[in-house]
């Protein structure tokens, strides 16, 4: 099935040539897109040469042999700067590889570089990066979404056929929708978080971005599966998703989530209805589904995630790694370091979370948000009693203009309204591009499934992909069409 990787394994294509082609695509358009914080040119070519050498010697070089992969810059890479797009970690070189990086390398993938993100993954546009924004390859006046905007842009621009991002409240799915690529948030615990710099630990999950559902499935199978180094990792093997893609949706019960259609632009809800009709035409039993507590998702998320972040980011104190701003005593050093090292959105989230956890407010805000999280899980459970999978918009609008929401944090947070409910529930969800919006930019349909429902989710996604209207591929850097599968 893995055509490109198979060609490399059999010596019909060279990993070096594949890597050079993608580095050339980066060289041509990266100055305008700014998808990367670090392009690992020498290391990638050395890795490619090693794969070619081992393939020539008859070794099995793995299911992703020679396939370039871009990594969000909050995933630790041994000896390679891992900045989280923050001044506070600028120049830091981790002493270890994240588990997903170890698995990618042993599958033969070539790590091409580290992609830009909203600082510490906090944002929905990749404008909160200390190193400047990423632009949407479909239209450089628009944002690519966020926080995995660099990874999404890298795939959309043809810089890398595959990328990994991280999704806490929509940070893979939302940029995938805005750049017209496939983006998957797996069930919480399916992919190891070991070596993923923590933002909100009960929500963070690594997942794939790719230009097709099959490619995303292949990447998920490589990186997923139990990891003893992550105590929240599910004690199960990776979900089997590549083998189910052709099974179709005949007889499947699919619900359209009423509550997630509210407040969404008409061109996007039209696409979701069109997707529902297409699934019905393919034999699915489609109906309206209600997840009443989902309307509280955004509010609960913006209390829980900042609360966890305020605790996780306490570690940036100028003692063990990253930036230190000198001061006469340790408390002044902590304060000077954090005030200089964090950008304004990160400070805002830390403040919000500290407030939600502080004496006198804990029960009204954080405690209440945790109880509402229970209500959201119960609401989904009730819906899944009647449906195998759900569909909804991924985002309220297509890609918005750079700078249009930076002055109003709440407006930016509202970009996540369709993605946060399944994050709070720990459920899998993914974006499938489904035609253009009225402005010609990509629109996405979100497929949601219950916990461990990856196989059902991928079946629906593969069906939607096959039924999607053709999207004219506008943009400064058209896709290279290096599809890994088929």
């Amino acid at each position: 099935m893995l055509a490109v990787a198979d060609a490399v394994r059999q010596g019909r294509r060279s990993a070096r040539q594949l890597t050079e082609e993608h580095l050339a695509a980066v060289a041509a358009a990266e100055p305008e897109v700014h998808a990367f914080n670090t392009v690992m040119t020498d290391a990638a070519l050395a890795q490619a040469d090693d794969i070619d050498r081992r393939a020539a010697a008859g070794e099995d070089v793995g299911p992703l042999a020679g396939v370039p992969v871009a990594l969000k810059d909050n995933i630790c890479t041994r000896g390679v700067p891992t900045t989280c797009s923050s001044r506070i970690l600028e120049g830091w070189r981790p002493q270890y590889d994240a588990t997903v990086v170890v698995r990618l390398r042993s599958a033969g993938a070539v790590v091409l570089g580290k992609t830009n993100l909203d600082e510490f993954a906090m944002g929905s546009s990749t404008e909160n990066s200390a190193f400047g924004p990423t632009r949407n390859p479909r239209d450089p006046s628009r944002v690519p979404g966020g926080s995995s905007g660099g990874s999404a842009a890298a795939v959309a621009a043809g810089f890398a056929p595959l990328a990994l991002g991280s999704d806490t409240g929509g940070s893979i799915r939302q940029p995938a929708a805005l750049t017209g690529v496939v983006g998957v948030k797996p069930t919480y615990g399916v992919v190891s978080r070991y070596g993923l710099v923590a933002f909100a630990s009960s929500l963070d999950q690594i997942g794939p971005l790719a230009s097709s559902v099959a490619d995303a499935a292949a990447l998920l199978e490589v990186v997923a599966g139990h990891d003893p180094a992550d105590s929240t990792s599910l004690a199960e093997p990776a979900p089997e998703v590549t083998s189910v893609l052709d099974e179709g949706v005949d007889g499947m019960r699919v619900g359209v989530v009423t509550e997630l259609m509210a407040g969404v632009a008409p061109d996007i809800t039209d696409r979701v209805r069109q997707a529902a009709d297409a699934l019905a035409g393919a034999g699915a039993r489609v109906d309206e589904a209600s997840v009443p507590a989902a309307v509280h998702g955004l509010s609960a998320y913006y209390l829980i995630a900042p609360a966890e972040a305020s605790s996780n980011l306490a570690r940036y104190d100028g003692v063990r790694y990253g930036l230190r701003v000198d001061a006469p005593d340790i408390t002044a050093m902590y304060t000077a370091t954090r005030s200089a090292g964090f950008g304004s959105e990160v400070k805002r989230r830390i403040m919000l979370g500290t407030y939600a956890l502080s004496a006198g407010y804990y029960d009204a805000y954080y405690g209440q948000a945790q109880r509402v999280r229970t209500l959201i899980i119960r609401s989904f459970d009730a819906a899944y009693a009647g449906f195998d999978a759900l569909i909804a918009p991924t985002t309220p609008t297509t890609a918005f203009a750079l700078g249009s929401k930076t002055a109003d944090p709440l407006a930016m947070y509202l970009s996540d309204v369709c993605t946060v409910p399944s994050s709070l529930a720990g459920h899998p969800a993914m974006n499938v591009p489904f035609g253009p919006g009225d402005d010609g930019l990509p629109a996405g349909v979100q497929v949601l499934a219950p916990a461990r429902g990856e196989a059902v989710m991928f079946r629906v996604a593969a069906a939607l992909e096959a039924l999607a209207p053709d999207t004219p591929e506008a943009g400064i850097a058209p896709r290279s069409h290096t599809e890994v599968v088929r």
Partner: protein, 100 residues
């Protein structure tokens, strides 16, 4: 239900979070945090009597392992990434009132 977040609250929270804010930042955060907390009023107002809190989305079990020494990070490599060290430990500015 708590009232709207005040400037004094923001000053207090910044101190707890070890952040030093300019006057301009303080003004901005009073407005912006207030807007987010106003938006959360729907959640704060819900009747959740008898609803248990969820800290983690899926059922978790304690993870135990044999008490066997395994490999850990190389000290020299770790200290090389530190802002300051004496070669064996992280070095920090003075903690208590006395001269070093």
């Amino acid at each position: 239900m708590a009232g709207r977040i005040s400037r004094a609250d923001v000053v207090h929270v910044a101190r707890l979070a070890r952040l030093e804010l300019t006057d301009e930042e303080l003004d901005r955060y009073v407005d912006q945090l207030g807007a987010v907390l106003d938006h959360a009023a729907d959640v704060a107002a819900l009747d959740t009597t008898g609803v248990p809190p969820t800290a983690h989305p899926l059922p978790m079990e304690n993870v135990l392992r044999e008490d066997v020494v395994g490999p850990s990070l190389d000290r020299e490599e770790v200290l090389r990434e530190a802002p300051d060290s004496d070669g064996a430990r992280f070095r920090v500015p003075r903690i208590l009132g006395e001269e070093p």
